[in-house]
């Protein structure tokens, strides 16, 4: 009987399209990751070790940090729910949905929701649930599971997506990724505008101030946490960082490891429900345990350090052959977490009997650990799973090592002889004789396929004389006879890694990074700002814009625009093509605008229109992320978004496409006064 896992392996290896897609994924992600690490403000290994230490501290003192986080979040106005099991989390979300008579839920990416199988539960309750991440949306339309935690539709080609969109939306068959993306933008825009509830995952919860952080590239994460009246955030209890500085450290590593970006396009810092202006009026936080507490203090505790960047998937040579859909249980059950970390987590959270065998599908090459931004020793954890060192439910015997029976007996035998040198030698001699009988002329043997080895490789014939016998012949040769005079030389020193010096002019640095992201940078002065904004609007035939209120924009700007025929609106309106905002500050290293919200600074102005115009004072440009996080903290805005360039996706065939849900263009008017 071939196990479901092996069946999946064989299917995946035979699937030429999948193999090309997985190669593409690995090549691009691994190259991008290595390249972008060079832009870190400090040595990568130092930062990895720091990040590891932060995660270790959090998991070791999780009760403390979780209590602080919950207290602060509640003070901020979050309604916090604890769920110890998947079922409890589902029930909680259903209750919230039913209390609002919700018909439609718009969802951004959440692996925890996959873990608790939320979508099917909501659908059973008669609630429409729509995935809004482009890749997730595609797999949902195909009634599939995501094939990768970062790139859900990694297994599909543009032709397959083209056919899907043709069938579902009646658009002409196309292989043009921007056309498909635009179609999804239009379809999903209606979902965002009409959903009763927005549901999101959480990347990090910050204990010291009770905010949650969500990173997305398309803008769907912002949409579902801004437009519907009610927001539900679903979070695993382990995803806490103690402080904003720790968050900055994680944000240096997460997007770089996940997608090769310095910062994701949208980093949302959500503090509280909005009392006025736009933004959700009610925010729920569902904290899921589902076996995580049992992992603490267990041999697999380190698996809880994971920040779900997916780098280990991309680095893993086995994932590269299999793809995410192949990681199934002994009964064929799907797990949302595949790849190296998933092979540990699935066994630890969802059952050793069902998923323990996944850890055996690894050559233990260590590429996963090398790629892990928080330095999780994945080979060690995979080995522990193999040995049955997993958390044990109460009153159950610990699991035994899960080696297949023939291998187990083989190794019992080997272990017996390997502790008895004379017997070991005898076995070597017998192997040598056996090899010679089987293959007297050839030095390499064809073993039968059932041996595993013989299916694809030859095996060397054991030596007639093992080394221990050869040794007896050569041991008495005096060293001098074989010795040559070799000049010793000192080991070479390895080259020092030099960091690119930080550019002196922050505006120039910001501009360079913004252009690289596909944004536009227009320098101006306080006197010609209004003229330049107007010129831009006229050039682009824009007659009406959504803006912030005039008190929070440069004096006289809105009045000037109105005098020149531009209609000004504070409220969002799907027909408006451009939004004009200020920025609290900016980060040069990643060309990031830091934009807080309140009643005078609507969130939607930088989100719904196709074109986002931002006014930035040169003096507000900070070099790096940690300073910016500290500065925005002083405002205590209900929602702060960090925007790095135009909305983007690479969900179809890893093709970078601009403008999924958020603005397609970002234009920064930078006031540089002498």
């Amino acid at each position: 009987m071939v196990s479901p896992f092996r069946q999946k392996i064989r299917l995946a290896l035979k699937n030429a399209t999948l193999q090309i897609a997985l190669d593409n994924n690995a090549e691009r992600r691994n190259t991008a990751r290595r390249t972008v690490y060079k832009s870190l403000p400090a040595d990568l290994q130092t930062m990895r070790r720091q990040a590891h230490a932060v995660r270790k501290d959090v998991i070791e003192h999780l009760d403390h940090y979780l209590a602080a986080f919950i207290e602060n979040a509640q003070r901020n106005g979050w309604i916090v729910h604890r769920a110890s099991t998947a079922q409890q989390a589902v029930d909680t979300i259903l209750e919230i949905a039913q209390s609002h008579q919700a018909q439609r839920i718009a969802k951004s990416k959440s692996m925890v929701s996959e873990e608790i199988e939320l979508n099917s539960a909501l659908e059973k309750a008669g609630i429409e649930v729509v995935e809004t991440d482009l890749g997730e949306y595609i797999v949902q339309l195909r009634r599939e599971h995501p094939a990768h935690i970062i790139t859900p539709a990694v297994h599909l080609t543009r032709q397959q997506v083209g056919e899907l969109f043709h069938e579902k939306f009646g658009i002409p068959l196309t292989e043009d990724v921007p056309i498909m993306t635009e179609t999804a933008r239009q379809v999903l825009r209606q979902i965002f505008l009409t959903a009763d509830i927005g549901l999101s995952g959480v990347n990090f919860g910050v204990a010291e101030n009770g905010i949650i952080c969500i990173v997305t590239n398309e803008g769907n994460g912002r949409m579902v946490t801004t437009l519907p009246a009610v927001h539900i955030a679903l979070m695993g209890i382990e995803r806490i960082v103690p402080t904003l500085d720790d968050l900055a450290l994680m944000l240096y590593l997460l997007p770089r490891s996940a997608t090769g970006q310095k910062l994701s396009v949208y980093t949302s810092l959500i503090r509280s429900p909005s009392q006025e202006g736009d933004g959700c009026r009610e925010r729920h936080l569902v904290l899921l345990d589902n076996g995580r507490s049992a992992l603490r203090g267990s041999p697999l505790e380190e698996a809880l350090y994971c920040i779900r960047c997916g780098a280990c998937f991309n680095a893993c040579p086995v994932f590269r052959e299999l793809g995410g859909h192949s990681y199934v249980g002994t009964s064929g059950r799907h797990t949302p977490y595949g790849g190296p970390i998933g092979s540990v987590i699935s066994a630890a959270l969802f059952g050793y009997e069902e998923f323990g065998h996944l850890a055996r599908a690894s050559s233990l090459c260590g590429a996963c650990r090398e790629a892990c931004p928080v330095d999780i020793d994945l080979p060690k954890l995979l080995l522990r799973v193999r040995a049955g060192n997993t958390p044990v439910p109460k009153r159950q015997p610990p699991p035994k090592a899960n080696a297949p029976t023939p291998l187990k007996w083989g190794l019992y035998f080997f272990s017996y002889i390997a502790t008895r040198p004379a017997l070991f030698h005898l076995a070597q001699r017998l192997a040598g004789i056996g090899g010679w009988i089987v293959s007297p002329s050839k030095k390499w043997l064809r073993l039968p396929s059932f041996s595993g080895w013989g299916a694809s490789k030859d095996f060397p014939r054991p030596a007639n004389k093992p080394f221990r016998e050869v040794w007896r012949e050569i041991q008495d040769l005096p060293p001098a006879q074989m010795q040559l005079a070799i000049p010793g030389s000192a080991p070479r020193s390895s080259p020092q890694l030099t960091k690119a010096p930080q550019p002196q002019d922050l505006a120039e640095w910001f501009e360079k990074e913004l252009l690289a992201l596909g944004g536009q940078f227009l320098p101006c002065t306080s006197t010609d700002l209004a003229q330049k904004v107007l010129a831009f609007l006229k050039e682009n035939h824009i007659a009406a814009i959504q803006t912030w209120s005039e008190e929070v924009l440069p004096e006289g700007l809105l009045a000037f625009l109105e005098q020149n025929g531009i209609q000004i609106a504070l409220q969002s309106n799907p027909d408006l093509r451009a939004g004009l905002t200020g920025a609290e500050c900016a980060i040069a290293e990643s060309a990031t605008l830091v934009i807080p919200s309140n009643s005078r600074r609507p969130l939607t102005a930088s989100l719904l229109p196709e074109i986002h115009l931002a006014i930035l004072n040169k003096s507000a440009i900070l070099p790096r992320l940690p300073e910016a996080l500290q500065r925005q903290e002083k405002l205590k805005a209900p929602f702060t978004v960090l925007i790095s360039g135009p909305s983007r996706t690479a969900d179809i065939e890893m093709t970078l496409t601009i403008g999924v849900h958020g603005p397609k263009r970002v234009i920064v008017f930078c006031i540089i006064d002498a």
């Binding site: 040579p317 390997a418 080394f467 050569i474 060293p479």
Partner: protein, 245 residues
């Protein structure tokens, strides 16, 4: 009297490739070492450990520790994977063991992988070898990522006379061996090996050098099955100056 060094030849080389063991001895003698071979040695226990069978791995590890405790001096192992087993996994195997944890650590402190021993321990980069062929280098996973040894074999190989060193594309990608993995998941292992073989062909070198007889067996097994002419060699063979056809 030259300083004595203990050779832990590994079960694979002992059983399958005695000529590699001989090459290791030649090189060590050439750099002035007196080589000893404790005859009770067998295997480090890695196969059982990697299979998850720690109760079977432990007695083999204890046997190995006891065998070498009777000897003095550094211990050289011509395999990154076995050296890493002792350095990194013995402590895990004997964690909190009142007797063996300390003894395993003392043992691990004496262990060096062959190229690491030559370059880092002895400060030798040129062993006077000659090999008039184009060569490339496969970075074995445990050597590279668990022991952090990469510069050392490359340094030794670039000093080999008349050898033209070319880089192997994706040298750090696993060849698909992984010990028990290669027999438990032969299909995946074969697919990984195919990539490695393609890279070896792309490099243009007829010889690919490794520091691990496991990888070497895997790569040669695939090369032969596919009818390829390239061959994998153990670094000791190059450094000892073997003749190849």
């Amino acid at each position: 009297m030259p300083e004595t060094v203990q050779l832990f030849v590994t079960c694979i080389i002992d059983t399958l490739y005695p000529e590699i063991g001989k090459a290791v001895v030649q090189v060590l003698r050439r750099v002035g070492k007196k080589v000893e071979f404790p005859p009770d040695q067998t295997c480090c226990g890695q196969p059982a450990f990697n299979a998850g069978l720690r109760n079977q791995a432990r007695p083999i590890a204890i046997h190995t520790i006891q065998t070498f405790e009777k000897t003095h001096g550094d211990i050289v192992i011509p395999s990154g994977s076995c050296a890493s087993m002792i350095r990194h996994h013995y402590p895990e195997l004997f964690e909190n063991d009142p007797v063996w944890e300390e003894r395993a650590q003392a043992f691990a402190g004496r262990v060096y992988e062959f190229s690491e021993y030559l370059v880092d321990r002895l400060g030798i980069e040129d062993v006077g070898a000659r090999f008039p062929h184009k060569i490339t280098y496969h970075s074995s996973c445990h050597l590279l990522r668990e022991l952090g040894v990469d510069r050392q074999p490359r340094t030794l190989l670039t000093q080999v006379r008349e050898a033209e060193f070319v880089e192997l594309p994706y040298t750090a990608d696993c060849c698909g061996f992984g010990g028990v993995f290669s027999v438990e998941h032969p299909e995946i292992s074969a697919a990984m090996l195919e990539r490695k073989i393609n890279c070896i062909e792309e490099s243009g070198a007829p010889y690919v050098v490794t520091c691990d007889a496991g990888c070497m067996t895997n790569i040669n097994g695939g090369l032969l099955r596919h009818g390829k002419t390239q061959r994998a060699l153990h670094i000791a063979e190059i450094l000892a100056g073997i003749e190849v056809p």
